[in-house]
Symmetry: D3
Amino acid sequence: MRNDGRKLDQLRNVDIVTDFTIHPEGSVLITVGNTKVICNASIEERVPPFMRGEGRGWITAEYSMLPRATEQRTIRESAKGKITGRTMEIQRLIGRALRAVVDLQKLGERTIWIDCDVIQADGGTRTASITGAFVAMVIAVGKLVEKGKIKELPITDFLAATSVGIDAELGEILDLNYIEDSSAQVDMNVIMTSTGKLVEVQGTGEEATFSRAELNQMLDLAEKGISSLIGHQKEVLGDLAVHVLENINKQEDSK
Amino acid sequence: MRNDGRKLDQLRNVDIVTDFTIHPEGSVLITVGNTKVICNASIEERVPPFMRGEGRGWITAEYSMLPRATEQRTIRESAKGKITGRTMEIQRLIGRALRAVVDLQKLGERTIWIDCDVIQADGGTRTASITGAFVAMVIAVGKLVEKGKIKELPITDFLAATSVGIDAELGEILDLNYIEDSSAQVDMNVIMTSTGKLVEVQGTGEEATFSRAELNQMLDLAEKGISSLIGHQKEVLGDLAVHVLENINKQEDSK
Amino acid sequence: MRNDGRKLDQLRNVDIVTDFTIHPEGSVLITVGNTKVICNASIEERVPPFMRGEGRGWITAEYSMLPRATEQRTIRESAKGKITGRTMEIQRLIGRALRAVVDLQKLGERTIWIDCDVIQADGGTRTASITGAFVAMVIAVGKLVEKGKIKELPITDFLAATSVGIDAELGEILDLNYIEDSSAQVDMNVIMTSTGKLVEVQGTGEEATFSRAELNQMLDLAEKGISSLIGHQKEVLGDLAVHVLENINKQEDSK
Amino acid sequence: MRNDGRKLDQLRNVDIVTDFTIHPEGSVLITVGNTKVICNASIEERVPPFMRGEGRGWITAEYSMLPRATEQRTIRESAKGKITGRTMEIQRLIGRALRAVVDLQKLGERTIWIDCDVIQADGGTRTASITGAFVAMVIAVGKLVEKGKIKELPITDFLAATSVGIDAELGEILDLNYIEDSSAQVDMNVIMTSTGKLVEVQGTGEEATFSRAELNQMLDLAEKGISSLIGHQKEVLGDLAVHVLENINKQEDSK
Amino acid sequence: MRNDGRKLDQLRNVDIVTDFTIHPEGSVLITVGNTKVICNASIEERVPPFMRGEGRGWITAEYSMLPRATEQRTIRESAKGKITGRTMEIQRLIGRALRAVVDLQKLGERTIWIDCDVIQADGGTRTASITGAFVAMVIAVGKLVEKGKIKELPITDFLAATSVGIDAELGEILDLNYIEDSSAQVDMNVIMTSTGKLVEVQGTGEEATFSRAELNQMLDLAEKGISSLIGHQKEVLGDLAVHVLENINKQEDSK
Amino acid sequence: MRNDGRKLDQLRNVDIVTDFTIHPEGSVLITVGNTKVICNASIEERVPPFMRGEGRGWITAEYSMLPRATEQRTIRESAKGKITGRTMEIQRLIGRALRAVVDLQKLGERTIWIDCDVIQADGGTRTASITGAFVAMVIAVGKLVEKGKIKELPITDFLAATSVGIDAELGEILDLNYIEDSSAQVDMNVIMTSTGKLVEVQGTGEEATFSRAELNQMLDLAEKGISSLIGHQKEVLGDLAVHVLENINKQEDSK
């Protein structure tokens, strides 16, 4: 039995609140167990200098934790004057993942800024950030369509993320909380689309290794969890979800 | 008439939620109109190096805004690698204000870290931070009493803050929202106790001046607003509020 | 009796030397008791990017102390690689105060840089900086009039600053030196014009509070001290002071 | 056909020079095609503060490129005053990977610093760094055994890394050079031991996705390449390789 | 004829004011032509970590210019957040030069901090800093003798510095002002003792070269100028100068 | 006898490898005894902002050491987030020295970036950097001539550097290794052309002084060593050396 009573292949409770704050174009509060992340999407009507004039859009992400999102207070990165390697890795991961399901050509020369601010942490903050950020991004981009700035929703598929790992006693488990994450021998973050395509796989043995069979079992668990997370996304996205499904079908047809 | 329909001496709607997140010793979400601030209080069992061995406690504060707390996205201070002058001023102000109503001797050699993170901004973020932080601090310190680490609650009075200002057409107004704040000729932040004592007065004419009569009218408004804010604090603090009132009475008696 | 033999409402000796160094457009050495500040004003023929094209000028200030301006050597901010919160607060205060008595429209699209460098400190360095910087600024702007770059002196009033405070034994006192400042219960910086208008009031109780009656008594003292400081300014400004007085009269007439 | 004439499953030419410079405890120049990295291992007789007193060792890595390791000159990170996210990711990856094959308990309270400096880059610099750093580390640790500071070589297995990817026309390919890397739809870095265990898998679709079948084909290629790289390592490690093989056998036996 | 009417081998007017400010152990204002530098010496009763327990003292220097010390305002290094290469070079030069005439053993485990702050610049600020800093240092160290902290003045010789250079038309010239320095083909800073010993020679051709004959003529000029500067130092040092002379004689005798 | 068996006026073994890496326009590995430096020259087709439109070129240098170039590992400047004073001094010195033998007018509006990266250090890294950088620069500039971008080689003379010093027992010595450098009383770096002209002389007594006679003996040694170093440069430069010699002759003739 897992420390919080879950089955090995069971996600924690998931809740996605939209329109969480009033200013951002897309604003989401995602809750996965005790992990809570505010995911805001902002539209900027220009791209970074290195992309100007190419007619394509860009998506970039920033990630931060409130000092007391954690059990022990952590020092603010602004107070330290620099961003940790962990934060940089996560920011790059979020941006890269979202770009995999956006047609940047159709987005046009504008930037979507994703801000993921963890207000409460209990493991899986980067995967919750991605799952929530996808919803905030679709809402923000939906407003561009509404205002007639772009003709169609440039989202090619749903996208969600979860963590899987190997526990010394339990074996492969889905959606690790903080205690499980701290003691796991192998930790893997998986980002997938609704059509079962992989966007990112990051499996890591900290002072340990894993076999290809174990890798496959972890991927099976991740696929199951992500499918459920995308179910939650579809529910809160409503009409926008329908548009994304239409986009997926069009791509299938054109193959 | 004010832009949001309020009377000149009317506060915006105030709401104070306690136990907002699970990790901090004191965790509050304060809402003043459209301004929302998470105020967390953390206890650290030691003081900064310059105070060691003196047997007194310390209170220090940090303040930050989420990038999309504002209408336009603002760059993270961690990304810039340095803290702005505005943030530094506010952090110092919050810490100084709270120290005015804490008996640092009775607190003992420990530090209270106050983290004020604005998740939605519409003017008055620093005063809302102080009003909310007071509640978070009392709750955190109350737990020290509960655990027997200190004998009595070292809080000497209630403390709240609001802004007042002078509008070119309306004259003196209470609790300015962002639009009012942007156009006010004079802006003043006032921090007061429940016994009507001033803790801090910061009146500023940006490219303007003000007379002593105007100063007095602004202070009258502030006094009224702060009295109401302290009413909200008493309500959510319950038994802890009773302890603070007893402390106030003891001080009166000993005079 | 005060620690240096002064009466409660007595300023320290004041001396303002103009043309202190040869390069700046306005260069002043102000001495207030043992506090000595070099105040230089520089004219730059453009404004910061965010103000370009508006036809208005800007005034900005920087403040620093030599490492041995103080009893104990303090580390240089350049060596630390960042500016302290205290310095930022003072810089913002000086700039804001001076802008209150300058018609930025008439100044035209140029920036006045104020550099206040404390070479010897004994309390009241920020208020001495403001009082000295006003003189340096008027001299520098006077040269713009002399060269025909602007038609009339865009200075709307005199401006000076002093500190007042409450001593546990002596009560309200004017112009605190370092020892008085260290032990005062309440410390207040007041910036006023020659016509008795307030530009900035910053009253602070560090681990203490003050009543509105005490606030008023401190303001009375400040008014007296500032009036005397403006007398010194008029003396060294000569003809330029006459121009400022004419400007004040014109404003009075036009009311 | 690939742009440099290789077969899809063919590594580039590999060369590992030991004792490349005189000062480090382990010094290696690894060449993989046109990619050349100096990998130095240094022994420090203490661990970072957070690990003191635990009796375990630590391995940490730093990575950098000479400005003209690349076709276009890149700005030094020391000149920019900060390390990029890419560098941080790579540094963390190298350290984590090496720790997976070291018995930190047997290493004792000392730190192995790995410095990977790329002097010429043509794709795969992070995987070449890991493959070369393993050799430098084993040589450095071997000297600890030689000097009697530790009893036996605390290396549990061989470790090497390579990149695999998916080319739009060619499909899955092994050991991408810079041009291949720039145009690949999917890029994956794989770190494995001689016993076929995975230490790290990082597969990324930049604006693309991949199926689990493709993932498996890439892993097959990686396994083949890493087996060959470990062959090179064994050759240059000589007697030390024998020790590692003995360690592997002991582990097998004890299962 | 030189641009300010001086002869080729003529120093500018020199003035050394002692006790310039009240707090430092040694405080000097040195004026060389239009160059003015405040040189303060502070005694700290400990040495940097790398020297602890060796029983020897240390001398270190910091150098800075007020923003309007120059014709055009220069940005503060504290505002930029880093120290320029030029400042670093000068700081290292001043410290190294002073250490050449102090018996660090006799100074004991304490640090002398030298702060050179240029308030007005017209060429030769680093050499004026050294000449003035020597006087401030001797005064500060003299107070250690006075208080009985050390037995005898640990100063082994006088030390002064000047610049020499080669002008395209005039040839070798002594003590270059800013205009001369800007157009000189070769610029050389020379630091010497009263006994004609060289402490530092830094000759630089910027886009030019110089012969050994020219080097020797410049050294002749420098020797003459430094002899005169040391005359000024002796005058203001009074009794302390007598002590230094006695130290020089003792060394001569012991040879 | 010197610690490595050399005569007082003997250089260490010198080796200059050209085309050391493939990307830079000029790439050199210089070996002087155990000191090894990679010197790369890059051509950028523009000059820094402050020089634009003047029709002249620019040469700038950066210098760094690998962490284990030294006996003890040194911390990376990129990890510290700032460049040391020593590095800044050396970078400025290399750039300034090379500019003395380049006709910047003939170079045209382009920048030559020199990167000197020390991979193994045993004293004299800055002088080896200059000697090697000269070769890399000539090769890079030679390619501009080859491609017809400039008409003739804008190099006016050969340039090399060495160190000389005074040992307490041996007296004046040439080309100090690390052990000699650490114990020398006086250390001097000399940069000269093939025609015996001085470009830079930096003689320093660390806690010591030196006479003009000693200065002259050190310069004699330096002249001898530099002549030999320039011999090595001529050898590896081949035809390019012939062009430089022709340039020198033309200048002689035109006198």
